[in-house]
């Protein structure tokens, strides 16, 4: 039986939604939408993104609407799943070989180790400081006057990267201002920032001892400069922990991994509740 479910991932920077159809043979994405929150009311962004995804899906009903991220209060959601749970499941859908996820969000990054079913085995997050996050990268790009799309390619051109503080976003921003005044090129500044972020992420991944395929999710997953710096950082290893045989994988839908995971877990719950004779979940009519 085909089940149509939706996943809504409310991040600190953007809202993402997908509508999926699944049955015993697998699942497919019917539609997806996303929008930056900026300074808008989150609930209105959620409604806008969900309505767009629902309308574009072509489905006439959605059996289970699953929220994730900061979406606990979405009034029409059937259930909520924690971010790690959904990113793990979403990563597995987009890359079945993945046994780890590096989720780079606007404010935090986290590494998750999981099994072949998408069950979270362990995880680690960066501390509360926004350094090493998408929002930090976006701020720096704005100071440097480059668009987000330019960040990755420019970073790849960097030849003499300048090291920035890897701990504090405020100090890192001061570092960048000093670099600009010293005439350091934009490429080298961006490369240095990517290396700083990559160093933190590599430590996160190493601490979980993930040694297989790692899926990179979140907005910055499409940043080729960040991925290159991360591959380099992971390739170096440390005296205590030599370089692991890690394969980093990204996907054009990486930013939607959380929403995809939510929709898939929603379908699972829909069937689990239904088989127990508790098919009470509210159907959202479109």
């Amino acid at each position: 039986m085909k089940t149509v479910t939706a996943g809504i991932d409310v991040g600190s920077g953007a809202v993402k939604a997908v509508v999926m159809r699944s049955d015993e043979n697998g699942a497919e994405i019917l539609s997806h939408a996303s929008s930056r929150i900026r300074k808008r009311d989150i609930s209105s962004v959620v409604n806008e993104v969900f309505e767009q995804a629902a309308a574009e899906s072509g489905a006439d009903r959605i059996e289970y609407v699953a929220s994730t991220g900061e979406g606990e209060d979405i009034p029409f959601a059937t259930g909520h799943f924690y971010g790690m749970t959904t990113h793990a499941r979403g990563a597995l859908f987009l890359e079945p070989r993945a046994r780890g996820v590096l989720d780079v969000g606007a404010l935090h990054a986290r590494a998750v180790a999981m099994d072949a079913r998408g069950r979270v085995l362990t995880y680690k997050m960066t501390s509360q400081c926004a350094s090493g996050s998408g929002q930090f990268l976006e701020n720096i790009a704005r100071y440097l006057g480059v668009s987000q799309a330019e960040i990755g390619p420019l970073s790849l051109e960097g030849k003499k990267p300048e090291i920035v503080s890897s701990i504090c976003a405020v100090l890192a921003e001061t570092d960048v201002i000093n670099m600009v005044s010293r005439g350091i090129s934009t490429s080298d500044i961006l490369r240095g920032i990517h290396m700083s972020m990559a160093g933190r992420f590599a430590r996160l991944l190493r601490s979980l001892e993930i040694d297989q395929v790692v899926f990179v999710s979140g907005g910055p997953a499409g940043d080729v400069g960040l991925l290159a710096a991360l591959r380099e950082a992971l390739g170096k290893g440390t005296p205590e922990k030599p370089a692991a045989e890690l394969e980093l994988v990204s996907h054009p839908m990486s930013i939607h991994a959380g929403a995809i995971g939510a929709a898939l877990w929603g379908a699972y719950r829909y069937h689990k509740l239904g088989t127990g004779g508790v098919a009470w979940t509210a159907t959202v009519k479109i």
Binding site: H80, F81, Y82, T85, R119, V120, R269, T281
Partner: protein, 389 residues
């Protein structure tokens, strides 16, 4: 009809008012009125009511009160509640109380009663030793004697000594209040989306700062509002929260647990409201009936002696079955000896029965909930996706 939001706003207003405006207003309504404070967990409020006094639950200032003076009275390894209660008193917020009851919950509360006697010699102070032996000839006779003594002394304080008729009337009122709370807990157990724990908690908490008659009126209005506005069902895990019977968690923690994907279907919050799990008889001798009610119908809790060696280990299974819960969240205040000493036995019993559990500690002024959100969220997911729920 008052809306659900209207009742919750009323309750929130009383909960947040550290000046105890509702109690002060009641005192101002009639000449010579007096109020009696009580600390957690169980105090015989019927005796206070029958003596013509307003019973006011004192739970500290939570996350709304900065502790300045209170820290001078207690070491750093003592829980937050007593320093917060001292802070309330030392800043004049409890100056409307003519009496204070300190039920035997732990040594800290006992010490607090001693401090009160020294600091506030004009206030009637009573440390209530609760009977720990469920035998009528010993525990029953002792508690009956304590209640008679308390009746005499509160009557002296209020100038309105209780008689059997007034005590029976008070018992009947508190039976009604307890019955309503039992019904609200039943409603939440059956359909937790209709009675969010945040709202139930606020209603009960407000009920400890107003006359019992007002609480009864508001509880009935809330139940009518729930029928009219039942709320939307969500796919959440059903959990029991255990260990928060004395120092209360911040409201944000209760909200966080439910927002993270759990329905709380049983708990220990404000346990004194439900300490007697059935009505107290209003026939014959009301003092004896009240004493006997405690002896026979006090709920199992960490402040009561458990004669059955397997009692603690079996308790979680019994509560989980009764509430049809998926798991247990052990949430106890930091440095709470009764809760934390029991936790090991309760958790061992729960895990032996295959019940999923997590545990964390809080203080009434905890302000950061991210770690609780993370724990409760992943716990809820694990039960929904990998458990039987």
């Amino acid at each position: 009809m008052i809306s659900r939001a209207g009742i919750v706003d009323w309750a929130l207003g009383i909960f947040e008012d550290l000046e105890f405006g509702a109690a002060r207003a009641w005192l101002a309504e009639g000449p010579g009125r007096k109020a009696c404070g009580y600390l957690p967990v169980y105090a015989p409020r019927e005796v206070v009511h029958a003596s013509g006094m307003l019973a006011v639950g004192i739970h500290g200032g939570g996350d709304r009160l900065e502790i300045i003076k209170g820290d001078a009275f207690y070491q750093s390894y003592i829980c937050h509640l007593p320093r917060s209660v001292i802070e309330l008193a030392q800043t004049g917020r409890l100056d409307f109380l003519s009496a204070m009851l300190f039920p035997s919950t732990c040594d800290v509360i006992r010490n607090l009663s001693g401090m009160w006697q020294v600091l506030y010699p004009d206030v009637y102070v009573r440390y209530l030793e609760l009977p720990q032996v469920q035998d009528q000839a010993t525990g029953g006779a002792f508690w009956e004697g304590e209640l008679r003594l308390l009746l005499r002394e509160l009557g002296r304080v209020s100038g309105r000594p209780a008689d059997d008729a007034s005590l029976a009337e008070s018992i009947a009122l508190y039976n009604t209040a307890r019955g309503l709370i039992r019904e609200l807990y039943r409603m939440r157990r059956e359909a937790p989306w209709t009675v969010p724990t945040e709202e139930l908690y606020l209603l009960m908490r407000a009920g400890e700062g107003v006359p019992v008659e007002t609480f009864i009126e508001k509880a009935r209005a809330y139940m009518s509002a729930v029928e009219a506005e039942p709320g939307q069902r969500k796919d959440r895990s059903r959990v029991i929260v255990v260990g928060a019977f004395c120092e209360q968690p911040p409201l944000g923690l209760i909200k966080t647990i439910e927002r993270a994907g759990c329905y709380v279907v049983d708990d220990d919050f404000l346990l004194g409201n439900r300490f007697l799990d059935t009505d107290v008889s209003t026939d014959n001798d009301p003092v004896r009936a009240l004493a006997g009610g405690f002896l026979r119908h006090a709920v199992s809790s960490s402040i009561m002696f458990e004669p059955d060696p397997e009692g603690k280990r079996n308790l979680m299974r019994q509560r989980v079955q009764a509430a049809r819960a998926d798991g247990v969240i052990f949430a106890a205040p930091s440095f709470c000896d009764p809760a934390l000493l029991d936790r090991a036995m309760l958790r061992a019993g729960a895990e032996a029965d295959g019940i999923p559990c997590i545990a964390f500690k809080y203080a009434e002024n905890s302000a950061q909930f991210q770690q609780f959100r993370e724990q409760a969220g992943t716990f809820a997911d694990s039960m929904k996706l990998w458990g039987d729920s």
